[in-house]
């Protein structure tokens, strides 16, 4: 039995979290779950079920209306703005629309995160080259996002998310804009990152992907957790 007083045992803890957007849109209702370090968790649900809101709460982009969220030992409900950068440096985020910086090249986009954490030029050169190889974009380093295909953009976004070795990767519909081949590539990448010891939270409504993973699935419906299974499947 885990009590609220021991948040450290879990990496992430949602405790009766409700999020209401103005004027009265209920995005999440009384959501509670915990995620242990090095877990791979899929958040499943239809569009509008609250998956993105859940990830945005974790990034502290939004604050819960009710309830508590803990990341490591840090409460996110009342986090001060000046502590946000430190929190977000522990997280690697991947979005459906990539959110790459359009005025920077692939290399610069990935290097930016290293610059933010204050890495040296040598570290940046070494790690960015390495991570570009991992995601298979070594030939695209000097291209701008607009010059990349959708799959390449998403791989660049993943490279950016993992370059600083974050504690956790949050992937919000990372395959939403991709064809099945590219989607599979991205999922393989996420699995590889997980095998290397990073916690991964994947929000998706893709049935095939969830069913092929065979990992923990938290299913949301209309903002509520309706299922939380260790080896879950996409069931509606």
């Amino acid at each position: 039995m885990v009590s609220i007083a021991e948040p450290l045992k879990f990496m992430i803890s949602f405790q009766a979290v409700t999020k209401i957007f103005r004027p009265n849109i209920l995005a999440l209702e009384n959501v509670s779950f915990e995620i242990k370090p090095k877990e791979f968790v899929s958040i499943a649900g239809k569009s509008g079920a609250g998956k993105t809101t859940l990830l945005r709460l974790l990034l502290a982009e939004e604050k819960p209306t009710k309830g508590q969220i803990f990341f490591d030992d840090q409460g996110l409900s009342k986090i001060e703005p000046e502590k946000l950068p430190q929190l977000r440096r522990k997280i690697g985020a991947v979005f459906q629309d990539y959110k790459l910086l359009p005025s920077k090249t692939t290399y610069e986009n990935i290097a930016y995160v290293m610059e933010v954490i204050g890495a040296t030029e040598e570290e940046i050169a070494r790690d960015v080259t390495q991570v570009l190889e991992i995601v298979g974009l070594e030939g695209r380093a000097q291209n701008f996002p607009a010059e990349l295909s959708a799959g390449e953009r998403q791989r660049a976004a993943i490279a950016r998310a993992l370059i600083h070795r974050p504690d956790i990767i949050l992937a919000d519909e990372p395959t939403g804009n991709l064809d099945p081949y590219n989607a599979l590539d991205i999922i393989r990448l996420l699995l590889k990152i997980h095998e290397l010891g990073t916690t991964v939270i994947l929000a998706t409504h893709n049935k095939e992907i969830i069913n092929s993973l065979g990992k923990r699935v938290i299913t949301l419906e209309e903002g509520r957790v309706i299922r939380d299974e260790e080896k879950g499947r996409f069931v509606f």
Binding site: E61, L84, R89, I91, I117
Partner: protein
């Protein structure tokens, strides 16, 4: 810290150089604003020059009775010089007045004949008095009305000249007031236009700022490159303005000197060169940095 500053500058420069169209637009607007600031600075002194030239023309003359001796007049001159409003006093003796009249009208036989007919020296000794301000002539005139020297004085011509002096006074103070109002209005318009241009440029990048926040960049790491960009635009605009004004002053100076006698704008420009650079840099960089800071503020709240 040094690496951080270096990165901010590098990033600011990269954004500036890559964002060609927007950078040119921002620079253009800033050139207009800085030109206006420089023009106001130059015009302020040009108008001051013109106003003081006009004011120079105003004076009052006090004419002494024929019976007044030169010692008496010099004594009055000494007394008048003690009045704080008085800038200078010039004593014109009867002989000098005659001499000056003859010199001025020697080619006019009618006047010269009339002078001969009058016989002797019809001119009176006079003190020409200049005050610092046009408004101070009344105080000088009051001094003579007080009566101390009444028996020596034939007339004070202030009252004949009063309407002209008052007109000059009204005109110059009106010019100054109008100048200030126009300057303030133009400056506000220019600042608003420049501010809005920069605001739009940043609005264009609000998504980018949001992403930077989401990957853990601190506010200064995001704000810094924008400030550098603003400063670069300001510096570039300053250089362009300086070139434009150097050329304008160089080419127009001889023409202006003919139009307004004694006004050498080129000498004034070179004499105040460093102040002008300072004004332009302050206007350019200040505007760039302040506008960026205000415009970016609301996007940093993610």
């Amino acid at each position: 810290m040094l690496t951080l500053i270096k990165r901010i500058f590098k990033s600011g420069w990269l954004s500036f150089s890559r964002d060609g169209g927007l950078a040119v637009a921002t620079c253009f607007i800033m050139v207009m604003t800085i030109s206006l600031a420089t023009s106001l600075f130059l015009l302020k002194d040009v108008s001051q020059f013109l106003i003081s030239t006009v004011q120079e023309k105003a004076d009052i003359s006090v004419y002494f009775k024929e019976s007044a001796s030169e010692e008496d007049v010099l004594k009055v001159e000494e007394e008048i010089s003690k009045i704080p409003e008085v800038k200078n006093v010039k004593y014109v003796s009867r002989e000098e007045a005659l001499e000056s009249f003859v010199q001025r009208h020697k080619d006019d036989p009618v006047l010269m004949e009339s002078l001969e007919e009058v016989g002797g020296n019809p001119f009176l000794a006079a003190l020409n008095i200049k005050a610092f301000q046009v408004s101070q002539y009344q105080a000088v005139a009051n001094f003579f009305e007080a009566g101390t020297f009444e028996n020596l004085i034939e007339k004070v011509d202030y009252y004949q000249r009063k309407p002209v002096i008052e007109k000059i006074f009204a005109l110059t103070s009106g010019m100054e007031k109008a100048g200030w109002i126009i300057a303030i209005v133009l400056a506000i318009v220019a600042i608003l236009v420049a501010f809005n241009t920069i605001r739009l440029a940043i609005l264009n990048q609000r998504e980018e700022i949001k992403v930077q926040r989401l990957v853990g960049a601190s506010n200064w790491f995001i704000r810094g490159p924008f400030l550098v960009q603003g400063a670069i635009s300001g510096i570039l605009a300053t250089i362009i303005c300086l070139l434009i004004f150097t050329l304008i002053c160089w080419f127009l100076s001889p023409k202006i000197e003919i139009l307004f006698f004694g006004l050498n704008i080129w000498r004034y420009f070179t004499g105040n060169f460093f102040i002008i650079i300072l004004i332009q840099l302050a206007a350019g960089i200040g505007l760039g940095i302040i506008s960026s800071t205000i415009a970016i503020r609301k996007y940093l709240k993610v």
